[in-house]
Each structure stands twice: as structure tokens, then as C-alpha cells.
Amino acid sequence: MVENRRQAAAVVLRTASRALALVVALGTVFLGGCKGGASITVDTTVPRPLVDPIPAAMGVYIDETLKTYVHEEELPEYGDYRIDIGASQTPVFARVFDAMFEDVVYVQRAEDPADSRSDQTVAPDADDEEGEDEPDTPIRFIGNDGSSLAVDGIIAPSIEVVQFAIPDQTGGDFYEVWIRYKLTLFDAGGNALGEWPLRGYGKANERNFGQLGKQTPALHEATTWALRDAAAVLAVQFRDQAEVQDWLATIGAGENDEGAPQ
């Protein structure tokens, strides 16, 4: 009898410990899921835009800051988030600009001996106060092979702000990402003709993802859509910008309405 009781007690103890282990394991999974956070790297491109190319030779300047752009943010209660979109910038803009212009040349800034910080890691109009280029000072661009340029203009995109939101914050269904670019247009001599914002917005419906581990793929999808949206708006609305229309008139490329439906 005593032996039987000991065996029964051992069985109960084993069962209880297994149950406890299961509860702990499940708790770890769910509580870990609550804390969340995500780290994504978006390396994508977009389809070639279906637009009539502008009859112009355009220089495109994509600096190192843009090529290596990473947004990092800690959301209190929701964890640490890291969105690496640097690898997508060159493929996305290349695909768009290659379709938008008859001829595209990728350019870099020429080294300026008088300015030690004039290298490729600095955007032409970066927002930092110190050492910002004088607005009227032309920037000397050269071809990536060091050759002098024969272009009608130069365009330089840069990222001003990246923001995102998760459903837990907004109470909605969507992971959302906003990217605000700044586009700066230069004439062939490197004189800034104007700049304007380009906003990309992407969202991913959390209902399209499973309950566990959805943050990373959902945020990735929202970011991909934000990049795609920026590319779409750039392709559709580029000619609508006043600065662009003036520039087109200057180079004799004329008007050709490509406006999107309102």
C-alpha cells in the first residue's frame, strides 16, 4: 500500500511539474509576443513605371546617407524597432528615374578641397545646421567614373523622416509606415532650382497575418508599400511640380500632362 501511495504521489508530482512547465512555456511565448519589437531589412524594388519618358538627360545623385538609411525607434511598452531601408533606395529610384527620363546618368559630388566634409556621405541639402551648403553655391557633380557631365539637370532624393505605427498604438487594424523624402532639383551647373517633399505611405492589415510572429512580416509589408507609394507618386506627379515645369520649359522639354486622377 505504501509503495502504491509513493508511486501515485510521484505520478501527481510529475504531472504537476509538466503542467507547470507548459504554463511557463506558454507564458513565455505570449508575454514575449506582447513585448514585441521588430527588426526588418527591406531590400526591394518596384515595377518599371508606365510613363512617357521626359526627353532629357538627367543626373541622379544618391548619397551614402540614403543608401544606408536605418530608422531605429523604441516604443515604450512595445519594444525596439529597427527599419533598414537603405538597400532599397538605389533600386527603387533607379527603376523610377530610368522610366521617367530618356537618359539617366548616376553622379557623385566632386571633392571640394576647400570643404573637407564635401563627400558622398552628405546630402546636398542635409538638415544639419553646421556646414550646410550655401543656397546659392553651385554643387559640382561628376559622373561616377569621374567624368564631366552632359546632363540637363540633376535630381537628388534624401530622406527627412521615417515614422511608423502599430495596431496596439492606434487601435486600428494596420501596421503603418510613412517615409518623407525631399527631392532637390539642380540645373546642369549644380545650381539648386528647388526642392519639394515626396511622401510615401504604406500599410499592412494585421488580419492578413497569423496571430503569432506577425510584427516582422507586417511591418516589412507596410514598409514595402510605403516605398512603392513614394515611387508611384514620384512617377505620376513629378511633372506637376512648379519647379519641374519651369525646368522643363528651360531645357525645351515642354509640357506633357501626366497628372494622376484626383
Binding site: T15, V51, N205, P261
Partner: protein, 234 residues
């Protein structure tokens, strides 16, 4: 002593659970308004698209996929171009922020020679814009699970909830640049999970019913000359 009996009983119970899990009752309603005659010729296809410009109430991807797959298979199947293939081919004119919202916008977009040429290349004749969602509401009850001695799990309680699907489709004829009709598919049902040791889910599959009905409607609407089949209902 009791553990083997419970284990023995689990087999048949699980069979019953599997059988019941797909038998929730669903009430469905379908409606359609035709504004113009339709037909689809050889080499033409249709695209099922969801609206993505709103910040709430976006149609679930799997519903659009379900409708596309269902229209593309079975009796009276119609040729389908997938949503992703279409929007990629038409980039950037059918993106969330640039897609035409009405026939005037569509006329403006397809009036561009470069776009009309692409539409001819891919052979798209009809765009079917789907809007709507499936929502879950009126959840009540509770379910508690625990372990018996011997490590056997057991649940007790009762859960129930209402589900409602409400989808509408607008059919645009790209060739004629006009809206040819609207279709709607609604489905509602109550799901419940009674549990006495083993939970028995009785799920009302409203979205699947709404998908089946919408797909049948689209097939019949686009190609009315073919014999029709009454909408799925249960």
C-alpha cells in the same frame, strides 16, 4: 484507473469534433444590379481587386484570393489575371493612392496611349473592385482549461460569437470605359464552442460562404449565356 477510459473515449470524440467543426449555420444574401450587357471574348480576362485607399475596413487579402481562385476554377470558370500581376503591369496607375475611384478617373487613366496599349497587351476586359469585410461581434461566455491527474487536459465552458460578412463588387468594363453593374454578398452566422472535457467548435464559415456566393455571381454576371448555378447556401 480513469486515464485509459478517457483516452479510449477521446478517439470517437475527436471524430465528432472534426465533423462538427465545419457545420455552423450560415445565412446568406446575394444581390446584383446590371447596368449593361457583358460578355468575355477569347483572350480576354478579368481582375479581382480590393480597394486599399481607406484606413479602415480594408478587404482581407485572403477573401480577394478566394474569389479570384473560385472564379478561375470549377464550372463556368473565367480567365483571371491576379491582382498583383495587374497592378505591377499597370504601375503606378492602380496603386492605393493613384487608382481610379470612379469612371471619370478610369477614363482619364486608360485614355493615355501608353496605358491603353498595356491593357491591350495583358488582355484585361473587366475590373472587379471588391469592398467589405468580415467582422466578429457579440462574443460571450468563457472557456477554462486545466489538467487532470495523469496530465490529461480538460476544458469546461461555453463560448459563442456572431460573424458577419458584407462584401460588394463593382464591375467595370475597361474596353467600354463604363460601370456594368454591382454585386453584393452577405453572410451571417453564429459560432459556438461548448466544452465538457473536450471543446467542440461549431464554426459558422461566413467568409467562405460569402466568397463562394460572390464568385458564382461574378461568373454568372460576366458570362450570363452559360448555364447558371444557384448560389451556395446552407
Amino acid at each position: 484507473m480513469t486515464a485509459p477510459r478517457v483516452g479510449f473515449a477521446l478517439g470517437p470524440v475527436l471524430c465528432v469534433v472534426a465533423g462538427l467543426a465545419c457545420s455552423g449555420c450560415v445565412q446568406t444574401t446575394v444581390q446584383g444590379v446590371r447596368q449593361a450587357e457583358t460578355q468575355i471574348d477569347h483572350g480576354e480576362s478579368i481582375v479581382i481587386l480590393s480597394r486599399k485607399h481607406k484606413t479602415q475596413g480594408e478587404t482581407e487579402d485572403d477573401f480577394v484570393t478566394c474569389v479570384s481562385d473560385s472564379v478561375n476554377t470549377g464550372s463556368r470558370a473565367l480567365p483571371i489575371l491576379s491582382e498583383s500581376e495587374f497592378v505591377d503591369a499597370m504601375f503606378p496607375w492602380f496603386e492605393p493612392r493613384t487608382a481610379p475611384l470612379n469612371m471619370d478617373d478610369l477614363a482619364t487613366v486608360i485614355g493615355r496611349p501608353i496605358i491603353s496599349r498595356r491593357i491591350d497587351e495583358i488582355g484585361v476586359r473587366y475590373l472587379v473592385w471588391i469592398e467589405g469585410t468580415t467582422e466578429r461581434s457579440d462574443e460571450s461566455g468563457s472557456l477554462n482549461c486545466t489538467f487532470f491527474s495523469g496530465g490529461i487536459p480538460a476544458c469546461f465552458g461555453f463560448l459563442s460569437w456572431e460573424s458577419g460578412s458584407n462584401y460588394e463588387a463593382s464591375v467595370w468594363d475597361v474596353e467600354r470605359g463604363m460601370s456594368v453593374g454591382t454585386l453584393s454578398s452577405e453572410a451571417a452566422g453564429t459560432s459556438f464552442v461548448p466544452a465538457v472535457i473536450v471543446p467542440i467548435p461549431v464554426i459558422a464559415r461566413v467568409r467562405e460562404k460569402a466568397c463562394a456566393n460572390m464568385s458564382d455571381q461574378i461568373k454568372t454576371f460576366i458570362n450570363p449565356d452559360l448555364p447558371s448555378v444557384s448560389p451556395a447556401a446552407s
